[in-house]
C-alpha cells in the first residue's frame, strides 16, 4: 500500500476572466503526489502547467481569476486559504523553484541575505545562525567558496549558479514537497544536466517529493516516477513514467514522444506536433486535441473523460484495438 499522498489535487479549475471572455487555463486537473515521489508535468507552452502549480500555493495574484476544485496538502485543504494561513506552508512545507533564475531573486540583496530571510521566516534562528546555515546550503548545492559567495549579489552569479541559489533557498526549510517550474529551461545543456542531478541528489538526502514542470520528455524520463501530460489545461494522460513513456496511449503523447512518425513531417524533429496549440480562449467542447489529431472521429466532439486501467489513465475516445492498429502500423 502506498503511503497517503503528500499532495492531492482534485478537479482543479482555473479560469481567468478576460476581455475576450473566460480563459480556462486549467480544467479538471487531478493527480496525487506520494511521499518521495517525483511527478513530472509535461505539455506545450500555454497548457496551464505553471498556472496549476501556482494555484496550489496561492501564487496566482490576478484579480480576475477564479480557482475551483480541491488541493489537499498532507490531508488538509489548502485551496482558498488566506495569505497569512499559507505563510507557514509556503517555503516551509512546500518549496518552489522558478523558471527564470535571472529574475527570481531580488536584485538589491545578497544571496545569503535572501536565504537567511527565508530561514528566519520559518524558524527562530538568529541572524548569525541563519547566515551560517545559508553558507552550508550554498555549499550543498555546489557553489564553490560559499563563505565568500554568500555576500555576493545575484547579478554577480551566472544563470546556473543563480538557479542553485534558488534551489538552496527552496530547500532551506526542509520542505516536504518541492515544486520546480521548468527549473532548467533557461539554462544551457550542460548546466541543465547538473541542476537535474543536483535536484535528484538533494531529493534523496532531504526525502522530499518533487513536482517538476517541463516541456522536455527527456527530463521526465530521467527524473519522474509519474507523468501528467497536459493539453490545453486538461490532463490528456496520467500514469507511471515507465508506462507513459514505453506505452503512451494518447495521440498527443505520441506526438510528444515522437512515437508515431507522420508522413508529412518525416524529417522534422520527432517531437514537433503539426498544427498550433489550441487557443485557450476557444477550447473545443469535445476533445481539446481534436483540431490537430489525425485519428479524430465523430464522437470526438464529445469530451472524453480520463479513464484507464490501474493508474495509467488517458482522455481519448480511441479504443484499445484502434490504438494497437495505429501503433503497429507506426512500428512497421
Amino acid at each position: 500500500m502506498p503511503d497517503s499522498p503528500i499532495l492531492s489535487v482534485q478537479d482543479l479549475q482555473v479560469t481567468f476572466a478576460t476581455r475576450q471572455g473566460p480563459l480556462r487555463a486549467v480544467d479538471g486537473l487531478s493527480f496525487d503526489v506520494a511521499p518521495k515521489e517525483v511527478v513530472g508535468i509535461v505539455g506545450e507552452s500555454g497548457s496551464g502547467k505553471s498556472v496549476s502549480m501556482y494555484s496550489v500555493l496561492g501564487l496566482v495574484r490576478d484579480a480576475n481569476v477564479q480557482i475551483n476544485g480541491s488541493v489537499k496538502f498532507q490531508g488538509r485543504e489548502i485551496l482558498g486559504l488566506s495569505d497569512q494561513e499559507m505563510q507557514p506552508i509556503r517555503g516551509g512545507e512546500i518549496g518552489m523553484i522558478f523558471q527564470d533564475p535571472m529574475t527570481a531573486l531580488t536584485p538589491v540583496y545578497t544571496v545569503g541575505w535572501q536565504i537567511a530571510e527565508q530561514l528566519r521566516a520559518h524558524s527562530g534562528m538568529t541572524k548569525q545562525q541563519a547566515r551560517e546555515r545559508a553558507i552550508e546550503l550554498l555549499g550543498e548545492v555546489g557553489i564553490p567558496d560559499p563563505r565568500k559567495r554568500v555576500d555576493r549579489y545575484p547579478h554577480e552569479f551566472s544563470g546556473g549558479m543563480r538557479q542553485r541559489v534558488v534551489i538552496a533557498m527552496a530547500l532551506s526549510c526542509n520542505p516536504k514537497l518541492l515544486i520546480a517550474d521548468e527549473p532548467t529551461t533557461a539554462l544551457d545543456v550542460t548546466t541543465q544536466a547538473q541542476i537535474l542531478d543536483l535536484m535528484l541528489k538533494l531529493q534523496d538526502s532531504y526525502n522530499s517529493s518533487i513536482v517538476i514542470i517541463t516541456h522536455d520528455m527527456g527530463v521526465i524520463a530521467e527524473m519522474a516516477h509519474k507523468v501528467v501530460v497536459m493539453y490545453a489545461g486538461r490532463p490528456a494522460e496520467i500514469g507511471p513514467e515507465i508506462d507513459v513513456v514505453r506505452n503512451p496511449r494518447h495521440p498527443y503523447t505520441w506526438g510528444l514522444l515522437g512515437a508515431v512518425p507522420r508522413v508529412e513531417s518525416r524529417n522534422d524533429r520527432l517531437t514537433t506536433i503539426p498544427g498550433n496549440a489550441v487557443s485557450p480562449l476557444d477550447i473545443p467542447e469535445g476533445c481539446a486535441f481534436a483540431d490537430r489529431c489525425e485519428y479524430r472521429m465523430d464522437i470526438c466532439t464529445k469530451r472524453p473523460q480520463l479513464k484507464g486501467t490501474n493508474s495509467h489513465l488517458d482522455a481519448c475516445w480511441l479504443s484499445d484495438e484502434q490504438r494497437l492498429t495505429i501503433r503497429s502500423k507506426a512500428v512497421r
Partner: protein, 322 residues
C-alpha cells in the same frame, strides 16, 4: 563603493568646470555684442563702460578674461551689479541661498514622507476604495498651480482667518534659523506645505505605479513563495527596489528647486531666495547677477545629481560595478 563615489565627484567637478566655461562664453564671447555694455546694464555712461572694460580685461585674450571672471566670482568675490550700483553679487547669492535651501529641504522632507506613505497606502490597497481616493488627492495636488495655492493659503492665513484660527501665522518673510529656530519654522511652515503639495502628489502617484509594477515582478513571487508576510514583501522587496527610481526623480527635482525653480513659492511668500534673485535680475537685465545665479543653480543641479548617483549605487548593487 568609495572609488565609485570619488569618481563620481571628480566627474561632477569636471562638469562644473565645463559649465563655467559655457556660461562664460555665452555671456562674454557671443560675437557681435559688446560685453561691457551688457555688464554695465542699460544706458551706462562711457566712464562706467571703460571701467568695466578694464576690470574684466575685455581687450585681453579670451582665456585671461575667463580667469579674471572666475577671480571676480570665486576668489575676490567682488563682482558688482551695475544696475543696483555698488551691490556686490556674490554675497547676495550667498544670502539668498540659505533661504532657498531651507525652503526646499523642509518641503522635500514633507513631500517625501507624504508621497512615499501615500504611494504605499495606495499600492497596498489596490482594488479597494482607498487606492483611487489617494490617487485622486494626488492628482488634485498636482493640478493646483503652486502660485494659486500659495495665494489662497495667504488669503486664509493672512487675512480671512488671521484674526481667529491662524493668528499664530507670521506675515511673510524669513527669519534665519540661527536667530530664532521657532520663528524660522513658523515662517516657513506654509511655504513648505505649499511647495510640498505638488511634489507629494507626484511622488505618491509615481511610487504607486512603481510598486504595482514591482509587485508583478518575479522576485516578488519568489518572496511570496518563501512564506514572507505581505507587508514584508511590499516594504522590504517591492518598495526597496522602487526606491531606486524615486531617488533619481528626487535628485532632479531637488536640484532644480534649489537652483531657482522654487521661484513662485518664494514670490508668493515674500522669501528672498535664489529664485526671486534670478527673477529680479532677469527683469533688470542685471548680467553679473544673472551669471552668478546661473552658475549657482548649475552647481546645485550637478551636485544633486552626483549625490543621487552615489545614493543610487548605494541602493542598487548592480550600478556599483559600472
Amino acid at each position: 563603493m568609495l572609488s565609485f563615489s570619488l569618481r563620481r565627484i571628480l566627474s561632477a567637478v569636471l562638469v562644473l568646470f565645463a559649465i563655467s566655461i559655457a556660461v562664460f562664453l555665452i555671456f562674454f564671447a557671443t560675437p557681435g555684442v559688446d560685453p561691457a555694455a551688457r555688464i554695465a546694464g542699460r544706458s551706462a555712461s562711457p566712464a562706467t563702460l571703460a571701467h568695466v572694460r578694464a576690470a574684466f580685461g575685455l581687450n585681453r585674450p579670451i582665456f585671461i578674461r575667463y580667469l579674471l571672471m572666475m577671480d571676480h566670482l570665486f576668489i575676490k568675490r567682488d563682482l558688482t551689479s551695475y544696475v543696483n550700483v555698488g551691490l556686490k553679487v556674490v554675497p547676495q547669492v550667498l544670502k539668498a541661498a540659505p533661504i532657498t535651501l531651507a525652503l526646499v529641504s523642509g518641503a522635500a522632507v514633507i513631500w517625501l514622507v507624504v508621497g512615499i506613505f501615500g504611494g504605499i497606502i495606495a499600492a497596498a490597497n489596490r482594488g479597494k476604495f482607498i487606492d483611487p481616493l489617494v490617487m485622486f488627492i494626488g492628482i488634485a495636488a498636482v493640478s493646483v498651480p503652486a502660485y494659486w495655492l500659495g495665494e489662497v493659503v495667504n488669503l486664509i492665513t493672512q487675512s480671512r482667518l488671521h484674526s481667529s484660527l491662524f493668528s499664530w501665522v507670521p506675515s511673510g518673510g524669513y527669519t534665519p534659523f540661527t536667530q530664532n529656530p521657532w520663528q524660522w519654522a513658523l515662517h516657513l511652515l506654509f511655504p513648505w506645505l505649499t511647495l510640498a503639495a505638488l511634489y507629494a502628489g507626484i511622488y505618491a502617484r509615481v511610487l504607486r505605479a512603481e510598486l504595482v509594477n514591482a509587485m508583478n515582478e518575479d522576485y516578488v513571487r519568489t518572496a511570496r513563495a518563501k512564506g514572507l508576510s505581505e507587508r514584508r514583501i511590499l516594504i522590504r522587496h517591492a518598495l526597496r527596489c522602487s526606491l531606486v527610481s524615486i531617488v533619481s526623480l528626487f535628485g532632479l527635482d531637488f536640484g532644480a528647486l534649489i537652483g531657482g525653480a522654487a521661484l513662485l513659492t518664494e514670490v508668493v511668500f515674500g522669501l528672498q531666495g535664489v529664485g526671486m534673485l534670478t527673477y529680479t535680475a532677469l527683469q533688470n537685465l542685471d548680467l553679473p547677477v544673472i551669471m552668478a545665479c546661473v552658475l549657482y543653480g548649475s552647481f546645485f543641479v550637478v551636485l544633486a545629481n552626483a549625490v543621487v548617483d552615489i545614493l543610487y549605487a548605494f541602493l542598487d548593487p548592480r550600478v556599483r560595478v559600472a
